[in-house]
C-alpha cells in the first residue's frame, strides 16, 4: 500500500477542516472542524510511523488525542460561558478583539 494513500487522505481532511473553521459561524461547529484537522494530523503521524518503523508515531498520536480531549473540554466550557453571557455563540457577534 502506498504511504501517499494515507497522506493524501490526511491532506484532504485537513483542508476540509480549514474550510470549516473559516466558514462556520457557530462556535460548536468551529470546534468540530478543528477536530477534523487534528484527526487528519493523526492519520499522518501513524502513516509515517508505518513508513519508518518504530513506535514513536503511535505515542505522538496518543498525545494528540489527549490534548484534543483537553482542548474540547476547555473550548466547550468557554462556548457555554459565552452563551450564558450573551445568549449567542455566533462568532461574528463577538468582536471584542476588533482593533
Amino acid at each position: 500500500m502506498l504511504v501517499n494513500n494515507f497522506l493524501l487522505l490526511g491532506a484532504v481532511l485537513f483542508c476540509i477542516g480549514v474550510y470549516g473553521v473559516i466558514v462556520r459561524k457557530n462556535a460548536v461547529l468551529v470546534l468540530m472542524s478543528i477536530e477534523l484537522i487534528l484527526n487528519s494530523v493523526n492519520i499522518n503521524l501513524l502513516a509515517f510511523d508505518r513508513l519508518h518503523g518504530g513506535n514513536d508515531g503511535n505515542v505522538f498520536a496518543l498525545y494528540v488525542i489527549a490534548v484534543a480531549a483537553a482542548e474540547v473540554g476547555v473550548g466547550l466550557a468557554m462556548v457555554l460561558l459565552i452563551f450564558r453571557n450573551r445568549k449567542t455563540i455566533a462568532l461574528d457577534d463577538l468582536s471584542e478583539m476588533k482593533g
Binding site: I22, E35, R50
Partner: protein, 179 residues
C-alpha cells in the same frame, strides 16, 4: 488480526479496496460536517469521520490508537459535543444561520490552495513509497512496545501532558460553573 503486515499481493488489493471505501466515506462525511445546515447532523457526520479514522488506524497496524480513538473521540468527545449543542440551545432541524455570509468565497480558494500545495508536495516527496517497506515488520500487539516508549523516552512529555489535562479539567470547571 489481519494487518498490513504481510506484503502479499492479494491482501494488498483487499487493503486498497478497504482503504478506498473508508476514505470515500470519511471525505463525504467530513464535507457534511462543514456544510450541513443542521448542527446535530454535523455532529453525527463527525462520528462517521472519527470511526473511519479508527478503521484507517487499524489498516496502519496501530490497534491501540484505534481503540483509544473510539473510546476518547466517539465515546467522550462526541458526547461533549452533543452536550454543547444541547446546552447552547441549537435549533432543532435545519438552521440557516450557521455560516458566515459569503465566507465560502475566500474559504474555498484558501482551502483549495492549501490542498494543491499539500498534494503537490506529498506526491513529489513520497512518490511510490510503500508502507512497511523499511523492513520492520509490525507485530500484532505493539501496545506493550508503545507503553515502554511512553514511560521511557517520552516520559517527560507524558508528565507534562498530565498537567495539561489536570489544568484543562480544573479550567473547564471554573469556566462553566454558575456563580
Amino acid at each position: 488480526m489481519v494487518l498490513a503486515a504481510d506484503v502479499q499481493p492479494d491482501i494488498e488489493i483487499a487493503q486498497n479496496i478497504g482503504f478506498g471505501i473508508i476514505a470515500a466515506v470519511m471525505v463525504i462525511a467530513a464535507v457534511r460536517v462543514v456544510t450541513s445546515k443542521n448542527v446535530v447532523h454535523a455532529a453525527l457526520a463527525l462520528v462517521m469521520v472519527m470511526a473511519g479514522a479508527a478503521a484507517q488506524y487499524l489498516l496502519l497496524a496501530a490497534e491501540f490508537v484505534a481503540v483509544t480513538q473510539v473510546l476518547v473521540y466517539i465515546g467522550a468527545v462526541m458526547v461533549l459535543f452533543l452536550f454543547g449543542v444541547m446546552l447552547t440551545r441549537a435549533k432543532l432541524g435545519s438552521d440557516s444561520d450557521l455560516d458566515n455570509a459569503k465566507a465560502w468565497a475566500y474559504a474555498l480558494p484558501i482551502a483549495l490552495l492549501l490542498l494543491g500545495v499539500l498534494v503537490y508536495v506529498l506526491v513529489a516527496g513520497f512518490e511510490d513509497d510503500k508502507i512497511g517497506a523499511s523492513g520492520s515488520e509490525p507485530v500484532a500487539g505493539r501496545t506493550s512496545a508503545i507503553s515502554d516508549l511512553i514511560f521511557s523516552a517520552y516520559a517527560v512529555p507524558f508528565w507534562g501532558l498530565s498537567f495539561v489535562l489536570l489544568a484543562a479539567a480544573i479550567g473547564s470547571i471554573v469556566l462553566a460553573r454558575k456563580d
